[in-house]
């Protein structure tokens, strides 16, 4: 009997030899897929249109309404004249900001404003 035992090296296949690299590459592929799905949802859901943190919106970012503490009307309780009045005060204050607003009027994209067909070169077409 000999005291020393010879240990045989296990034979690894090519895949087994590179399994760590394969795992890393797989993780990257899965991450890319998930990011592309997320970006697709971001664009198709309309979230992109209201996201002012995107590049190019630096100038207007601070002008966005920062009002996070808008008061909510209580859904429970009696409805007497005083309650109606307090609701109407809240409501009219909000309504004044959306009724008869000039947003998205036709003038901004009109030919008069943009001067696309002007024979002379356009100097400034800001609205």
């Amino acid at each position: 009997m000999q005291g020393s035992e010879t240990k045989e090296e296990p034979i690894l296949t090519r895949w087994q030899q590179h399994r760590f690299l394969v795992m890393i590459a797989g993780a990257i592929v899965v991450a890319c897929f998930l990011v592309s799905v997320a970006l697709g949802l971001y664009n198709s859901s309309g979230a992109a249109q209201v996201d002012l943190s995107r590049p190019g919106y630096e100038a207007i970012r601070n002008q966005a309404n920062q009002d996070q503490s808008s008061k909510s009307f209580d859904a429970t309780g009696t409805l007497d004249d005083a309650t109606f009045k307090s609701f109407q005060d809240l409501y009219n204050a909000r309504a004044a900001k959306v009724v008869d607003v000039a947003s998205f009027d036709d003038a901004a994209l009109s030919e008069d404003s943009l001067q696309l067909m002007n024979p002379a070169s356009v100097t400034d077409g800001s609205n």
Partner: protein
Amino acid sequence: MRNLVIGLLLVGLVCGGSVAYAEDTAVTLTDSDLARIRLNCTAVQTSLGRIHESDALARVNLGQQYETISTKLMAPFNSRVALNRLDGVAVTQTTVEFNNKLDEFRTLYQQYEQTLLRAIQLKCTDQPVTFYDTLNLARTHRAAVREAVVSLGGLVKQYGTEVQTLRDSVKGKN
């Protein structure tokens, strides 16, 4: 006979295709028009960029106000009207209309923003006709957004009037 039918179909397809193509490419544009578009379009794109920015701001601010009106004012008020067993059919109907219009506004704005962005990003000096068509489409989409904003404003006004009517009827009962 069969060959004749196929031949007629082919002629129809070719004719129909050329008419659509002519419409799509805005036949009214002359060479001098195209030259003007090429000359001015880069400056126009700069203006469009500024409009794109200010529209985004208007969309965010208006959207916030609409959301607040719908979720923090209309919905709780309607619940309270129902809890107090008052006639809330009119206010509920207006709320439903308002929410539907708000959904439409979001969709229309998205459509408009994408069209405007396409016009901004186009290589307009190489593709003046496409630029012209895209700009016209953006104008149409913007008009639709404007219409939705006007409708939403009208519904907000209408809801306010209905609340006042409800208030008067409650006053009359007491």
